[in-house]
Symmetry: C2
Subunit: 266 residues, 2 copies
């Protein structure tokens, strides 16, 4: 995440395929070109490519947007500028408007997750969708919101709910990406040069340890031996050891067990 450029770049065509059907990101009257750059970075983090700018205050194209985009040039270079929100959404068939508050309007309000799934579903049936983001200082005007089909509101600490533009785009992009992402919830990746230990290897490790603990006297209290053995076995069961790690641990046991003898020899 933070501060790490990926070393495994996909060909652009593949990234583009994953992003197909992504919503247009429409920044309405953005004030600072830097924020456009940071928003473009957030878009590309999640494969979104269709950036639209309504009357950007500092003009467009604008060189100041490029450094904060951290290399999201392809998004900035293909950005389109429109004089009004109505023109920017003209070709779209469903539009969400982001908002930090419920407006005094009768308009559906969706969470980012629900909106993302909805956009994914609509894209799969051939509809083009877009998401409006307001200017940094005040958000969207009510007239812009009235052009949208629904509001998109992120759950936020009600005592501190101001997100900057790039962060609002980030959350929406994240949910868009997640809506088609099949990353497993939790995995234990094993390096290629080893594999998870099997139970025979584990039992051999347990027996090796218990043999040495019998020898050195650690398990000498007969009534306590069964529970201590079970507790030790549970520790190593929980660790989900690889075959390589089982060998390392056997080396550790051997080395510790031989240490007094080694020392005597000295």
């Amino acid at each position: 995440m933070a501060g790490t450029k990926s070393s495994r770049r996909l060909p652009k065509s593949q990234a583009r395929e994953k992003a197909a059907g992504g919503p247009a990101i429409i920044l309405v009257r953005p004030q600072l070109a830097e924020n456009i750059g940071m928003a473009a970075r957030s878009m590309l983090n999640f494969g979104l490519l269709d950036l639209r700018l309504v009357a950007p205050r500092e003009g467009w194209p604008n060189e100041k947007a490029f450094p904060p985009s951290s290399g999201a040039d392809e998004v900035l270079n293909s950005a389109r500028v429109y004089p009004t929100t109505a023109k920017a959404v003209a070709d779209l068939q469903f539009v969400y408007a982001t908002s930090a508050r419920v407006r005094d309007m009768v308009k559906t309000v969706a969470t980012p997750e629900t909106a993302a799934r909805d956009i994914r579903t609509q894209a799969n049936t051939g509809k083009k969708c877009g998401i409006l983001f307001g200017r940094e200082s005040k958000g969207l005007d009510n007239d812009d919101v009235a052009l949208a089909d629904a509001l998109l509101m992120a759950p936020l600490n009600p005592a501190f709910s101001s997100l900057n533009l790039a962060q609002a785009v980030l959350l929406v992009g994240y949910e868009w990406y997640r809506s088609a992402d099949n990353t497993p919830d939790k995995t234990l990746p094993i390096p290629k040069d080893t594999r998870p230990a099997n139970k025979e290897e584990l039992v051999q490790l347990f027996e090796h340890l218990e043999r040495e603990l019998d020898a050195c006297g650690f398990l000498r209290v007969k009534e306590k031996r069964p529970i201590m053995v079970r507790n030790l076995r549970n520790i190593f069961q929980r660790a989900q050891l690889t075959e390589q790690e089982v060998r390392t641990l056997r080396g550790v046991i051997k080395s510790l067990a031989e240490f007094p003898r080694n020392r005597k020899k000295e």
Copy 2:
């Protein structure tokens, strides 16, 4: 969302209650004080308050962190500084390390959503958790990662997976907040001065419209009348009208229907 300060501030005590059990956010050797400020803003957006800094390069406290935090002073003022990662996590019982890539280590990898739920579950059983974030340029060292119980990796465009520090904190905070959030997926909020129309009001609207359309001749083709009536009724059913809107629409129909007569009078 973007650019909108909430007008409905919760008392701090209430925000604090919602945040109870939140993970410590540990920034390891952050390079720029501005980034610490932006990370604090992301934390407070989701009610996270426990900020820990390991050897911040520009020193601490640092005035440069405050403007980019957009008012998250309470997070910055209570931040604690540690000389090493080991000291920063000493009181914690479960630690995630954020990473943009799988390390050459045998370590569980979780998505932000899964990690957030896990932290919530652990907090509910009294465990203190923390999340490590690496420096802006290179992320966490492997020795820092080895102090963690598991890795936290966000699904990101593999062709452009570099998040800035505040954005990484934002995604994790968002998932933490979401893990206990009960915002409905989708709602249609109705202003207090009205209510959803009931079916009697709707049918009266339909019949008013159809009466006027019969009168003006729009429904004159007898075989087509039933399907046109059904289509028109479906349009207004879909709109989920309020009682106020039904009255507005009846006013619109009345006004349009009377218009030729009004004109004649002139």
